[in-house]
């Protein structure tokens, strides 16, 4: 069976369209960064609490969010965000989140016990309880940014060593592109950036790079073989040669990440979502961003090799 055999798609001549698409998406990402994405309590400090408050019997009316909100308001807890989560066995879980200082999870638990005792069955009704001090969050933010910068630096150095500096810069440009777009999409969809999402972003960096390097590797090889061809056509040729591998790997990776998204449960859903976005964007960027940027860079050189063959009129 074959997909994409002997394709001769001219990616390079269409690179300007790709640039426009990418620039728009990057602007969205930058806007998201400036406007401030929604950070989770990992970074802001605060409280996150998930309680199992299923009805005691199946025909008992389920607890509604507004009942809980009312109870919290009565106690002056106005900054608590409440969400419902449906469990695997139809249980009702409530997720409480507060980023303001001073709200304590123990207080919420005590209040729920007091107001809705019939909904609190088992001693294990606390599913998740997290309290993060604001200082820890600030530190973590710094650490996360450092982690991303250090890995990008490590990558430039490695690619510089194995390829050329230009390849490294092109690859990292593509990585920034991927990370920014993912952050932008998180912003648009109202998802929180948590510690796990930063891990996902780093994974996207790794994955997208993997993809980019496979194409670069082929470009490096082809540049040696086709010495007379223009940079544009060699790079185009390399992208086409690796296209079938790019698509297959992206597909298998996407499939597993999708199954993680669908079946992995609430804890991991946003993480899987970030990876899904990353796989798509990362694949796109190695074809439409990293490789064309190489063409632009090579265009600055006076090597006698043509950048792009003019189309025969």
């Amino acid at each position: 069976m074959r997909f994409f055999e002997n394709t001769k798609i001219d990616f390079i001549s269409k690179r300007r369209i790709a640039y426009i698409v990418s620039i728009i998406l990057i602007i969205v990402g930058l806007v998201a960064l400036i406007a401030g994405p929604k950070f989770s309590i990992d970074f802001t400090g605060g409280v996150s609490l998930e309680l199992d408050m299923s009805p005691p019997t199946p025909d008992h009316p389920a607890l509604r969010i507004d009942q809980i909100r009312e109870a919290l308001l009565e106690q002056g807890m106005t900054d608590v965000e409440i969400q419902t989560i449906r469990g695997q066995d139809e249980q009702t879980f409530f997720l409480f989140k507060a980023q303001a200082e001073g709200t304590e999870s123990a207080e919420i638990i005590r209040l729920m016990r007091e107001k809705f005792p019939e909904y609190i069955g088992s001693p294990g009704f606390i599913r998740l309880q997290e309290e993060v001090g604001p200082r820890i969050g600030e530190e973590l933010k710094g650490k996360a940014i450092m982690a991303i910068l250090i890995s990008l630096l490590g990558i430039i150095i490695y690619i510089w060593w194995r390829f050329e500096f230009t390849f490294g810069v092109a690859a990292v440009a593509a990585l920034f592109h991927d990370v920014l777009i993912t952050v932008g999409i998180f912003y648009i969809t109202g998802r929180e950036i948590s510690l796990a999402i930063v891990a996902a972003l780093l994974t996207i960096v790794g994955y997208s790079l993997n993809d980019t390097i496979v194409v670069f590797d082929r470009i490096r090889e082809d540049l040696k073989i086709y010495r007379k061809e223009s940079y544009g056509s060699v790079i185009n040729h390399s992208i086409n040669e690796t296209l079938s591998r790019t698509i297959i790997t992206s597909m298998t990776t996407f499939v597993v990440v999708l199954s993680l998204y669908l079946l992995g449960g609430s804890v991991i859903r946003d993480f899987a979502f970030a990876l899904m976005v990353g796989v798509i964007v990362g694949t796109y960027s190695s074809i439409f961003v990293a490789s064309p940027i190489l063409v632009e860079f090579f265009g600055q050189r006076q090597t006698g090799r043509k950048l792009i063959h003019k189309k025969k009129a």
Binding site: D52, G124, Q129, I136, V198, R218, T252
Partner: protein, 531 residues
């Protein structure tokens, strides 16, 4: 040929080690040493608690800072050991932090209370009945005049438009013009007599009042007011509100040891009952003898961080520095009291700065959903690969399964915990591990297309793909290593499984798959390869 022999031995060795570490996961009886070698589940999967403590040593001279943190680690360790968690982990992080992990723990509240406590242990006398009465009157008066300062006292403020009687719980007669009840404090402490008890319902109100400095200042000078700690067995039980002499008679530093003992002898009351045995230092003994001698029949409260643990009655003048606290304690309560007494001498205050707790049900759900996602992903990828690559696809699938097995085996071997992000890492590996094979197979296809024989095409395909595979995977490894450095707990689990997955996929693709390919070709002398 020698090279090939070595390679086959390597494959065999890796497989055997992997099997050794995977067998304990099967439901079969094994010798004990073997069963123990089972992959460890992280806090987020088996449930448990993680607490980050910070020792505030800013007040201490430079030379004592390190010691203060060390002794805090010891005290925390000591408290946890006595608490009896299966595999606790207490680690010092950075200069002044302590990370405590309590896997499988269920009694979160109790652990939190024990660990996060800044231990300042004091012994204070309980005030006399007259002093308590005086305090009560003062506070009643203060609250009547200042009720509007405390919004939560609303229900004691009478709305003249509504029938007053229906609002008042007690059939208190109030002067017409009076809008605020005159006995708020007395009512909150539920009785006229002693001891003052606070019901669960009024507890939040009392706690908020106690937080207010202005309110606390209303207590007559030389006295202080403080709550009894929560009854663990019955958190809704009434709690005593103590009025204590502000003066600290003895501190935790005068205490040398505290132990749980079980009563013996013929005395029915003491027999088989747990009690706490105390021994004071030489100076402590002297002070203790004086305090007990002067205050027979009065109560001496044991106060840890402003919360009264218990207030035994002084039965007699106690000489020699040996005392016992008896009463109707459960063994658990006695043990906790001993922990409190022992930990009473912390040099620098300790603060909980982060706390993460996962209940066992969420952990179990995560395991279940992680497994389901992994199986579905694996199934889809394997179906696709076999459909797309036929016989070589079968080889790739075998390699994929071996890959998963190696990751799990290596996790066990390294003693690393499997976390939910770790499972995600394994699942991601399923997708990415195939990549090495895809690279190889696509290359072989190209070589075959260019007219090479099967044998040379396979060799050339592997040799060329190796470079790409190494370059692509090493960069991913770089990010995984950074991730490991940056993350804690669950994130580290992800970095570990991702790295292991990448390493394992390089091994399976470059060594195992190659061996299988060669076996297929040399055995059948094939001239054609459907790929």
């Amino acid at each position: 040929m020698k090279k090939r022999k070595f390679r086959n031995l390597l494959i065999l060795a890796v497989l055997l080690v992997t099997i050794y570490y995977l067998v304990p996961l099967l439901p079969v009886e094994l010798p004990g040493f073997w069963t123990d070698k089972r992959v460890r589940l992280g806090l987020d999967l088996q449930g448990g608690m993680q607490i980050m403590l910070e020792v505030d040593h800013s007040e201490l001279p430079e030379a004592e800072k390190d010691d203060a943190v060390r002794s805090a680690v010891e005290i925390v360790r000591n408290r946890i050991d006595q608490f009896g968690v299966a595999e606790p982990s207490i680690q010092r992080v950075g200069s002044n932090r302590i990370m405590v992990q309590l896997p499988g723990l269920q009694e979160f509240d109790r652990a939190r209370e024990l660990i996060g406590r800044t231990a300042l242990l004091e012994f204070k006398l309980v005030a006399t009945a007259e002093q308590i009465e005086q305090t009560r009157e003062g506070l009643d008066k203060y609250l009547q005049e200042n009720a509007e300062k405390y919004s939560f006292l609303e229900r004691f403020i009478l709305d003249p438009d509504i029938d007053q009687l229906s609002l008042l719980e007690d059939e208190e007669e109030l002067p017409e013009e009076e809008a605020v009840a005159s006995n708020i404090f007395t009512r909150l402490t539920s009785s006229q007599g002693l001891p003052m008890m606070v019901s669960n319902q009024d507890l939040p109100i009392i706690q908020r009042l106690l937080e207010s400095e202005e309110f606390r200042n209303q207590v007559p000078s030389g006295l202080m007011i403080t709550l009894e700690r929560e009854n663990r067995l019955d958190p809704r039980a009434d709690r005593e509100l103590y009025v204590l002499l502000e003066k600290t008679e003895l501190t935790g530093s005068m205490l040398e040891s505290a132990d749980v003992r079980i009563g013996s002898g013929t005395d029915m009351q003491a027999s088989n009952r747990p009690y706490v045995s105390l021994r004071f230092s030489r100076e402590g003994a002297r002070v203790f003898e004086m305090v007990t001698g002067q205050n027979i029949r009065r109560r001496l409260a044991i106060v840890l961080d402003g919360i009264v643990y218990t207030a035994p009655v002084i039965q007699d003048r106690i000489r020699g520095g040996e005392a016992r606290i008896t009463g109707t304690f459960s063994l658990e309560e006695t043990q906790d009291l001993v922990i409190v007494l022992r930990a009473g001498n912390l040099p620098a205050p300790v603060e909980v700065i982060e706390e993460r707790t996962v209940g066992p049900t969420l952990g179990a759900d995560s395991v279940r959903s992680g497994l389901a996602a992994a199986l579905l992903g694996l199934l889809l990828v394997m179906l696709f690969i076999i459909f797309y690559y036929k016989v070589p696809g079968l080889i790739a699938n075998v390699a994929l399964l071996v890959n998963m097995a190696i990751v799990m085996g290596a996790l066990t071997l390294l003693g690393a915990a499997l976390t939910m992000p770790g499972i995600a890492g394994i699942i991601l590996t399923i997708g990415m591990a195939v990549d090495a094979n895809v690279l190889i197979f696509e290359r072989i296809r190209e070589e075959l297309k260019s007219g090479k024989t099967v044998r040379t095409a396979v060799d050339a395909g592997f040799n060329r793909a190796i470079i790409t595979i190494l370059d692509a995977n090493i960069t991913t490894l770089i990010t995984a290593v950074v991730l490991y450095q940056f993350g804690t707990g669950p994130i580290r689990g992800f970095a570990v499984t991702l790295s292991l997955g990448i390493l394992a996929s390089m091994f399976t693709a470059l060594i195992m798959v190659k061996a299988m390919f060669e076996a297929v070709i040399t055995n059948k002398n094939r001239t054609e390869l459907s790929i």
